[in-house]
Symmetry: C2
Subunit: 490 residues, 2 copies
């Protein structure tokens, strides 16, 4: 058994990769304006250097952006666990030599130009350098990738990643898509335990990270973007073991011939047949996202009250007759129902809802006119109905958009807090999840976004559109149903 | 032949409805804060009262928001063409009497509580009052609707509608959806000739408006949201005649049983079978939107260079390998192709595109690094390829998001202007439409939105996502193909 195989069977061996004691950026340069590469600015933004030693290897500079430069790894006084390679591929052999001598634990190659080019010589070079490093007990991330995001350590590979850690892990063969996943989901309120862009996966592959995350106490939900499947049997086993106990949401790029061709020139992956991938998701109990939007939405679903949906009955509580018609269509097209309001619930609603300009039959429009109490009572009454498994609501916003512009941030936050406490209380009392649609009078998207972030912190899901909310709810339900025989995830 | 039928055969008779000499709001009240109803504030926002006489019927006030009040229509000194009824239904008989005596030309009933309630007595009342008005030669819009938006006259029914007129007409059975159409499309840069929310359609129905719009020189593209089809034969004839010479985009609410039930309680419509509606769209040469998002996107497609797409070959020019993979999948799933770059085009690209970190095979990533000249040359070269019918591109944005924050608005507009002139020139020289994706480094959506509006003014289409761009392009192409035998629309 080679050292590499030994390590891949021991997922805890990756702990040191996600928690390096010290990191060296190999080859940071500055542009004409004196700006350093994005990797350095991201680490400084996350204050990595204030928590752990951070070094730069650059023989031509003394320091860059306040970080001390060294001519090579050997000249760094303390230990170095993690090396980020930003140099062109022709410098890589020197880096490898130094890394082995310095006894580092992992090297991440941002450096590209290896097997993904399709050039046999470049592929052979990749095999050679990765072999040399792993033989020396050094794990390799990449090449041709963005590497690690570990907010608890201050490690990040793009600017604007959240500094607060969370419970969702992101694994991606593509750096751009890892960025879309982290930036996109963080705007929804999601926070992350770990993120990895692993590119060509010459050493560490998706299945190594999955094995690690299965045991990682910081990770509760795993999302992954994959192009090719490497070492199919190991991959299947790793997904199976992971999906047994944690929610796993997989997005496969290269579904079509056109996409597969693009994937091949990207990470050198052979995209494989989508039917096989689909069957694997079904057999392992993973959730399969078809688009990046799905992946974001399903993650919001799996980390909020929406995961608790128990049946297909959806109540829509909102104003606007035409909006209700299109919404009912969208809910039905997603495979859910918009059942008629039971008579007992109608009677309860009639106690406080006038006849004119309202509808107490689902979809429900009680025409609250900004009255928070009527809104709360409506949602509560509907959530308590026998045939309702999910309430989809819009906010009344107590004041018009024009007035809202005049609210102080504190007043707006106070109003939002009132809504959220009401929804949490309704969910607790009725056991029915309540999801909110981010519709608002006029153009004030900032207030809606503030609500979304505050709601997510309280596990209340928000969606931009009814089709997306309905699709996510349908997937949470279908996912639970597909897992018959496996441990319950939620 | 009754007067009503006579009028419906003469579409020009609706001219006076869209261009009233004077308007009276019947029943404006103020709320506890002294704020007037939205109808009044919308008219004031559009400066209707500065162009044409505007009156309020309210016996209890002298003026509201600076507009003079009268106790009844008769006491208004000059002529009144258009009356907007905001009173409860019990006041309506008095309004009808006054309108007939005052010889007004049209009444719009915002007032609801008629046939849409399903109550036979209320339905009979609707028939009675509408009959009285039409017998007197007065046309009725509604009841249960938002009425007219005519920017050239300053008529509007919601705040925030554009004041500048344009070439797109909006017809909607639902007021909320009319608002979503006008607000939503105006954010994309679309401007409108006329908008009508016609609710129950007791007198004027979709087919009357379609007949008018077929002859209206201000209207080039027609979009409509419909729930039930009234007077099916007249409707079919009107759509057929309209679709023959102008692009018509139809969205049908009540596709599903759940949606149809919601539609029934909304406008009293029987939603009818979607298969029949679908066949009608095919037979008449109209475009059928399945969702509200479709309707917005297809309208952008039909009013920009995207309408000129001639084949299925799409080139994607953007950074990010994983993004390219998912985009190629999305384009293929929409029924279009991502063909390999022809050798001749590859040779031209290689003249200025380095090998490392780029892809000159479609999807194309020339890794411009913010270089506008390389970006322009890439788009131009690709747009000129034999097998490319549409280029889908992202902007390089010459500076990083951080820098952009420091740009003055003038500098940003200048940069945007440079991009737009380049795209217009490429389109003119190659005959290939170029659509832009609104992706941008970081979070600066304001700059992307500024670009979108400036681009639309130059008939350059922008989309938030590749799937939406691809779906729209596929519909433009399929639409043109379905119209074999009919006059070319574009």
């Amino acid at each position: 058994m080679t050292r590499q195989n030994l390590q891949s069977n021991s997922p805890h061996s990756l702990d040191h990769i996600f928690h390096p004691r010290a990191t060296a950026l190999f080859g940071v340069s500055t542009n004409a304006k004196g700006m350093a590469s994005g990797f350095l600015t991201s680490l400084i933004e996350q204050k990595y250097h204030e928590r752990s030693p951070l070094y730069i290897i650059n023989p031509k500079a003394d320091e860059i952006s306040g970080i001390k430069c060294y001519p090579n790894l050997q000249s760094i006084p303390g230990p170095v666990d993690h090396v980020i390679s930003l140099v062109p591929e022709k410098i890589v052999p020197a880096l490898v030599q130094q890394a082995i001598e310095k006894k580092v634990k992992s090297v991440h190659f941002y450096t590209a130009g290896f097997s993904e080019t399709g050039d046999p010589e470049r592929a052979a070079l990749e095999t050679k350098i990765v072999g040399e490093l792993t033989e020396a007990g050094i794990r390799v991330i990449g090449p041709n990738c963005m590497g690690l995001y570990v907010p608890s350590e201050g490690l990040a590979f793009m600017n604007g990643f959240p500094e607060t850690p969370g419970n969702v892990a992101v694994i991606s063969q593509s750096g751009a898509n890892a960025g879309d996943m982290i930036h996109g989901m963080s705007r929804r309120g999601v926070r992350f335990s770990k993120g990895v862009s692993f590119g060509n996966g010459a050493d560490l592959k998706a299945h190594h990270f999955f094995a690690y995350l299965a045991e990682d106490p910081e990770t509760e939900v795993i999302t992954a973007y994959l192009e090719g499947v490497q070492e199919g049997r190991n991959f299947f086993k790793a997904v199976k073991r992971l999906a047994e106990t944690k929610p796993v949401i997989l997005l496969k790029g290269g579904l079509t011939a056109a996409g597969a061709r693009a994937a091949h020139s990207h990470t050198g992956s052979l995209a494989g047949e989508i039917k096989i991938f689909d069957a694997m998701c079904r057999q392992t109990g993973a959730s399969r996202a078809i688009t990046m939007e799905d992946l974001h939405d399903f993650t919001v679903g799996a980390t909020t009250s929406m995961k608790n949906i128990k049946g297909t009955g959806v109540a829509l509580v909102s104003g606007g007759g035409g909006f209700a018609v299109l919404s009912a269509d969208a809910i039905a097209m997603a495979g859910l129902d918009v059942p008629s309001t039971p008579e007992a619930t109608k009677l309860k609603l009639r106690e406080f809802v006038p006849i004119a300009g309202t509808s107490i039959n689902n979809p429900i429009d009680t025409n609250t006119g900004g009255d928070i109490q009527i809104w709360e009572r409506t949602i509560r009454t509907v959530a308590g109905a026998d045939n309702i498994d999910l309430v989809l609501g819009t906010l009344p916003w107590s004041s018009s958009a024009a007035d809202q512009d005049e609210l102080t941030k504190e007043q707006l936050e106070e109003e939002i807090d009132t809504y959220i406490k009401m929804i949490v209380s309704i969910q607790n009392d009725t056991g029915t999840p309540v999801a909110m649609l981010l519709r608002q009078r006029g153009d004030d998207r900032a207030a809606a976004h503030l609500f979304e972030l505050a709601a997510y912190k309280n596990q209340i899901p928000c969606f931009a559109t009814v089709p997306r909310a309905a699709r996510t709810a349908a997937e949470m339900l279908a996912w639970a149903n597909r897992r018959a025989g496996l441990p319950q995830l939620f």
